[in-house]
């Protein structure tokens, strides 16, 4: 067995044992990923993707692809975000992927696992690097499942719980530092994630550009130093970077031509808003088929497509758009 193989096997054994090296952090619900390592000039983003079924193999392949770009540019990674799409997403699987990504990138790593909504399973890894760039993850744990749909009191209590969850995540982020770019992921009911996103945005006092979405109620989130569990994840990117978010409420997603036109217009608007900087990364939060409409439109700019059933994003005036049936397109660039 090669050294590489032995390392991989060791990682798998650790994952199966459920072991995770503990790291210092502010508390069980607010563990932050490790700080960025030696900074590199500019902002560089790279995305790797693998459709392998075995989690460690998929993570290794995807992270390897992304890291190859950073190594070629001589840039050290500042943070990594991974997405796992699998029919059997479980905390154990997500932990195994997270450990592999973290080991290969050597950077602050966080991510989440969700079940695909039609397209094939895959692991996607985004690695960010650059001078002064700080990537940190914040998470809240526990599922917020829907109750009896005919019980008004239960629905109201659930809505309050979602808002409290968003507020709690916002407090964690605010306590760490002000401003920054916030990307949200995780487990929430698509129909009612807006109350979570609204509370989070309110707590950030509009001081952060926000883009994100939610997958299913059982999405698992990974942060080193805390048990991987069903929950919500916020990744905060700070440093000399800008994010232009273009939320679009698709008028008729059953009409392919209209949807394509709206999606492309949103991407063009996001790129226009980030100008004169050239985008280093494009992010899309939407349903698989809508994200796919933009896959070939990014040219040589890496695109990180997040499959989600509910979407949220701040527009140019800082107002939050949140709901379902939307497509959030964001452009990230160095200042």
């Amino acid at each position: 067995m090669t050294i590489y193989g032995r390392t991989l096997a060791a990682a798998c054994v650790l994952a199966l044992c459920g072991c995770e090296p503990k790291q210092p952090g502010p508390g069980p619900a607010t563990r932050t990923a490790e700080p960025a390592r030696r900074p590199a000039p500019g902002l560089l983003a790279a995305v790797g993707r693998s459709a392998r079924a075995e989690p460690a193999a998929a993570a290794t392949e995807a992270a390897g692809q992304a890291m190859a770009h950073l190594r070629a540019a001589g840039v050290r990674p500042a943070g990594a975000i991974f997405l796992d799409r699998a029919a059997d997403t479980s905390p154990k699987r997500v932990t195994a992927i997270g450990r592999c990504v973290r080991r290969l990138t050597g950077a602050a790593t966080c991510g989440h696992g969700t079940t695909p909504t039609g397209r094939e399973p895959a692991v996607t890894v985004l690695v960010l690097g650059g001078e002064g760039i700080d990537v940190r993850g914040f998470a809240t744990s526990g599922a917020l499942a829907g109750g009896d749909p005919n019980d008004t009191a239960a629905a109201r209590a659930l809505r309050r719980a979602r808002a409290e969850r968003g507020d709690a995540l916002g407090r964690q982020i605010s306590a760490a530092a002000d401003g920054g770019i916030v990307l949200t992921f995780g487990a929430l009911d698509a129909d009612a994630h807006a109350s979570f996103q609204t509370a989070l945005h309110k707590r950030l006092r509009g001081g952060a550009a926000l883009a994100g979405g939610v997958g299913t109620r059982s999405d698992a989130v990974y942060l080193p130093g805390r048990p991987t569990s069903v929950g919500q994840l916020a990744v905060v990117i700070r440093g000399p970077v800008r994010l232009a978010v273009e939320p679009v409420a698709l008028s008729n997603r059953w009409n392919a031509a209209a949807t394509r036109a709206e999606a492309r217009a949103a991407m063009a608007a996001a790129v226009r808003r980030i100008a004169p900087s050239r985008p280093s990364l494009l992010l899309t939060f939407g349903r698989d088929e809508h994200n796919a409409l933009l896959a070939d439109r990014a040219g040589d700019v890496p695109i990180f497509a997040v499959s989600c059933t509910g979407q949220a994003g701040t527009d140019a005036s800082g107002k939050l758009h949140a709901g379902t049936g939307r497509l959030i397109v964001a452009a990230l660039a160095a200042q």
Binding site: P149, N150, T152, A155, R156, R159, A163, D191, A192, H193, A194, S195, F196, Q197, T198, A199, A249, L250, S251, N252, R253, W254, N255, K319, L320, H321, A322, G323, T324, G325
Partner: protein, 357 residues
Amino acid sequence: MISATPTAAGLFATVLAAASVCGAEPPRPRAARLFAAVGVSTGSDAARAGERAARSMLAKFRAAARRPAVAIFLDRTARGSAKAGGAIGDRVRDVCGAPTYGSGGRIGPAGVTWWAKRDREPTFLVLGLCGAAVAVRPYVASGASPSDKPAAEAQARALGRQVARPGRPAAALLLGGLTGETGGAFLAALQESVGSKMPLLAAVGAPGDYVYANARAAAGADGHRVAVGQLLLVIEGDFAVATAGVVSRNVGDAQAVLAEADTVARHAVEALAASPCRAVLAVSDAGRLRASALDRPGTERARLCAAFGRDVPVFGCFSFLQAGLDNRGRFSVGRERLMLVALGDAPPASRPGGPRP
């Protein structure tokens, strides 16, 4: 002294006036203006609630010395069935004494009417319309909700093909139950068939909702007048039609949701221009109601009434899926929408018997 002998000038004026009278068109009967009223009743017994709502609506018509030409109802009292729906619809029809159409089904996830005092309160809502040559043409697509997108599109196109281009101003209202994904495909395909003829407004409930199309009037019940399926009502007459709609920016923000209701209503009022609004058909999203912490359907309805006028009846419900034309005149289908069609008096120039340019 006053002379009794007619002067030449007087004679000329009399002859001129007589000629003028002979040459004038005979006075045309002035068409009755559009009149609408809603009746609402609460209670889990759909048949009794329907009867009470119909009587309440009828009382408003009597007070105005009018009679409904057509009645449309929304039954959100319980899980409906086509069998029960027939009896309920017939009862409403007997009370109204006019052709009656409607839809009923599950309260809860599929929504509540605008007139429920609280979320998930069972209500029965009846709209009566008369005057201005008002007529309703029903088209029924019966059967279980289509299972896939091609089937839904085929069913919608088949329904749309039956719809003739109306000779008068018209609006199409779709009621009934569909599932989410295929429902969207159904509505998008229906818009392609019907959208060029008239504006389409749709409120989609849960699969299994029943539709009722004037059953007792149908000679020899053919099994399609009361059915599980979709009902497309083409409402036409000598009235002005204005459409408006919006997709919620943030369904979690109650103030934003209410501000959008203001905007939509204002847009429709402006589109009606000088024509006073007489009735509003509006659909909103059950999620928009619940996620925004509004809880009370009346809160959003009150904002609409503030713009249209307190006496203007608002008919419709919070539904699972909505479709209509938005404020930019673009067809919009999906969730988290507020869509409406406002019916107003026809502009004077186009009104029969009214002043002519």
